[in-house]
């Protein structure tokens, strides 16, 4: 449904397109993450058979997209361009060079922004108290 609206947007060039795609990708994934989180929380207790015990530890490294999105919203309040860079790199899959081009900065600056954003986001995701 989100893609339908893109008809009316003038996709001027590749960079614009990827920027738009990153934004949509973020939105879709976050929507799904919220839905599946809601489904897991929802209502009735789940019966677990003995042979269905939870998977052993060690694989529990999956990125929490909702926590990431929340952290990105916080980052946007501090530095909206830096948040945009994260969106392009992570959700859009753009390289440092492509990201630099998209936001009109030098690749060196893009690299610095990305490196510091990663640290900031990691801290925000892992230090925020679980509600």
């Amino acid at each position: 449904m989100r893609l339908v609206r893109c008809d009316s947007i003038n996709v001027r060039d590749r960079v614009h397109f990827f920027s738009l795609a990153a934004q949509i990708m973020r939105q879709i994934l976050i929507d799904h993450a919220r839905q599946s989180a809601a489904a897991k929380r929802g209502g009735n207790a789940i019966t677990i058979a003995l042979d269905d015990a939870p998977e052993p530890e060690g694989k529990k490294t999956n990125l929490d997209l909702i926590a990431l999105d929340d952290a990105m919203v916080q980052l946007a309040a501090l530095d909206s361009r830096q948040c945009k860079i994260v969106e392009l790199r992570f959700f859009g899959g753009l390289s440092i060079e492509e990201t630099a081009q998209a936001v009109d900065i030098s690749p060196a600056t893009a690299k610095r922004e990305w490196a510091t954003a990663r640290l900031w986001l990691h801290r925000a995701i892992n230090s925020s108290p679980v509600p």
């Binding site: 994934l29 599946s36 990125l63 610095r112 510091t116 640290l119 990691h122």
Partner: protein
């Protein structure tokens, strides 16, 4: 933190990150120049490096996170479901996905079909209903009914059903591909009817008879799949509302009473059999032109008279039963089919 403060922290952080590791402390000392809170802030972020996995926010972590939240292509292949391990996805439907599977403990090599019930169903009540029904369903022992073998709740709460794996193709496709004559089609269909009659004698209603639930094996045996499954998956027996019934049926084959939310009886199956037979004989739906919008179709099923198959095909006498099964008066329907 204010945006201005973050610019300052970021600047120091970036410079320190680019400095050679041996030089970092001196660099940090110099840049912070006595500003202790700045230094603490930067150090806190620098420390993240040690805890952070190298793949944090890289492409693979996006792919993994996406796979975890999106319905996904083959997300459940290779998964352990109860005592079974899924091997390959063989079907997708409104209620979930069907996988070819084997016993995970290797006790039996025989392959089975595992149906994973996706989203929207209350897993606790599905498994409770399954426990109530399983004895009855598992006792259905008929050459033209695919056996229900097992079922339960997988470790993420997803209800699943284990059924006899049928290697066959949809009855309508089978008939057309083999260019069966009307007599051959009727002979095949009689076997389907005998399976339904067998189940009805045990007071089990299928509730979702349609071509995709009737597979014909290589040796020409029709097998009816998913007997009684629609009941397990539809919320609350008897007191069902129109809305909830709609979720567990296929409008094109659903009877008027199913669409209206009236009591479900054995005639519901007979009606659906009638629609299937109609299609096998004429190659078209009794309600052509309505099949693409569920609402219009439901209206057509409840309110309009289907075109007599005899006006579509020439072999008139064989078609009488089909047309009356697709009639709306189901008491008459039952008499015509089994009476």
């Amino acid at each position: 933190m204010t945006p201005e403060r973050w610019q300052k922290v970021k600047e120091v952080l970036a410079t320190v990150l680019e400095a050679p590791a041996s030089n970092r402390d001196a660099c940090l000392e110099q840049l912070c120049a006595g500003d202790d809170s700045l230094r603490r802030e930067v150090e806190l972020l620098l420390n993240q490096q040690d805890q952070m996995q190298s793949q944090f926010l890289d492409e693979t972590s996006l792919a993994e996170a996406a796979a975890a939240v999106l319905p996904g292509e083959n997300s459940s292949v290779g998964r352990r479901v109860g005592a079974y391990k899924t091997l390959e996805r063989i079907g997708v439907g409104g209620m979930g996905e069907v996988y070819r599977a084997v016993r995970a403990d290797g006790q039996f090599a025989k392959e089975v079909a595992v149906k994973l019930v996706r989203g929207g169903f209350d897993s606790a009540s599905v498994s409770e209903r399954f426990r109530n029904e399983r004895q009855i369903l598992a006792s259905l022992d008929h050459p033209n009914i695919a056996r229900l073998l097992d079922g339960g709740t997988a470790n993420d709460g997803m209800p699943y059903l284990v059924m006899e794996l049928i290697d066959g193709e949809r009855i309508d496709i089978y008939c057309d591909r083999n260019k069966l004559t009307i007599n051959d089609r009727l002979r095949l269909f009689r076997k389907v009817c005998s399976a339904v009659q067998y189940a009805h004698r045990r007071l089990v209603i299928h509730r979702d008879i349609k071509p995709s639930n009737i597979l014909v094996t290589k040796d020409g045996t029709p097998k009816l799949l998913d007997f009684g499954i629609a009941k397990i998956l539809s919320p609350v027996d008897d007191a069902e509302t129109v809305l909830t019934v709609t979720q567990a049926m296929t409008p094109e084959y659903a009877s008027p009473e199913q669409i209206r939310g009236d009591a479900i009886t054995t005639a519901t199956d007979v009606y659906s059999l009638g629609v299937v037979l109609y299609q096998l004989l004429t190659g078209r739906s009794p309600y052509p032109g309505h099949t693409h919008t569920p609402h219009k179709l439901a209206q057509a099923v409840c309110e309009s008279e289907p075109i007599r198959p005899s006006s579509i095909v020439v072999r008139k006498e064989s078609l009488t039963a089909s047309n009356s099964a697709a009639d709306q008066d189901f008491a008459e329907v039952y008499r015509a089919a089994f009476g």
